[in-house]
Amino acid sequence: MFGYVKPVQSELLVKEYEFYRATYCGICKGMKKHTGVLSNITLSYDSVLLALVRMLFVEDGCISAKMDRCIAHPLKKRCMLVQNPAIEYTARAFAILTHYKLLDDIKDEGVGKKMLVLPLRPIVKSGAKKAGISELEEVISDRLKRINELEERKVSSVDEPAELFGELLGEVFANGISDSDAVVLREFGFHLGKFIYAADAAEDYDEDRKKGRYNPYLLLYDGKPLTEENKKSIKSALIYECRRMEAAVNLMPFGNRYTIENIVKNIIYLGLVKRIEFLEPKEITQTEKEGTQNERSVFSTRSVKGRNR
């Protein structure tokens, strides 16, 4: 549901990476505590962005971490964030999101995947029930229903369903927050949602084309294979959504919380761009490779020259 919204790890400082992982562990613990044992097995790294951004708005004090054990890694103690309102909210919101994603999978996927996800259903369902944010649940189920309706009608627009998913994520980010903060969060979530929906659809283009499944881009592009020019257009439109997110991020109250700021910016500036790498023309990666080789040869001649003198 949440796509793959992750930072580019190699560009994070070690302390930023540690904080990122500690946040993840905190959410995992939070799910165990608030939405039931085992509900956390479906958690993904995508949840961290929500927790980080929410922490900016609801945490004014310091964010503390502790070393603790967990079931997944019983041998070594891991650093994890102590429960705080942002973490708790993320845990609950994700329990609900997971529940609806599961319902979606059961409906859409083939027999094989159905068999895999069916046993999870009772756990996830009770998790969503325990989450207890009914107004959020209403928005999520309503928007997903409307997206399904659009998909059944085979609407030939990417933006229409993407906007609905954007509204969904906007609510996930802004729920329970008021005034101008909510505006920033909603705008951020809205464009993130649009990005995720459109990027997922674009990535599945070839597969859906072969299998004859619904995909809004297929209808827009008449079911033909995408040309490089088409891909460029799609990419530009997606980067436009990133720019809108950037505008929202610039209004977030980072203060001196540089670690959070850098992780969030890494995700927005690098992670999302990496997410749509599949739209890059293939030749460019080729020339890039050649470029590095050339660079290397410059260095080797340099050292030979140095030795000669």
Partner: protein, 211 residues
Amino acid sequence: MRDPYLVLGVSKDATDDEIKSAYRELAKKYHPDNYKDDNPLKDLASEKMQEINAAYDQILKERENAKKYGSSSTGYSYTGSSTGPYANIRILLSNRKFKDAERELFNIPTSDRTSEWHYLISVVLMQKGRVNDAMRELELACTMDPSNVEYQMAKQEFNKAQSGYGSTYYGSAGNGRAGRSSADDACNCCANLICLDCLCECFGGDLIPCL
């Protein structure tokens, strides 16, 4: 012609005053008074002067248009040389009556929809933030009428506006991490030293004896 902003050496979002002073600076530099009759560089300077004047005029005109139509970032006036139903719609767009324009556009039967229809609907969609759909319509307009400069320009402008995204991540100083610009990595440092060494050697000295 070259990008007028590049000619004047200012960024696209420079203020009117900045552009004016940049223009004056350059005009002074290449003024005919500095290249009197016998100067062999006279022609070159006057060419340069013309280029600067043209660039300045173009920027002024573009900005004037942008103000007149109150159009957003792109600075297009949508009043092309079209006739028929589209001329009206273009006027609506220039007056930022996007809802009316959209209604008018959808009143045109599917069979009559030309490349211009696709272009104009893309302007409407873009305004609504429906960029994915807008780009598709723009592409359609371009494929239906590949020789149309207006459509091509609109597509290129949008693509260009999205390029360079993410570059701020590295340069953002003051975020608790020393800004990493490409100018101060190890490679560049070495190159600079080698350069410096060459310079020294030109003048008979030597900065790095082993090189």
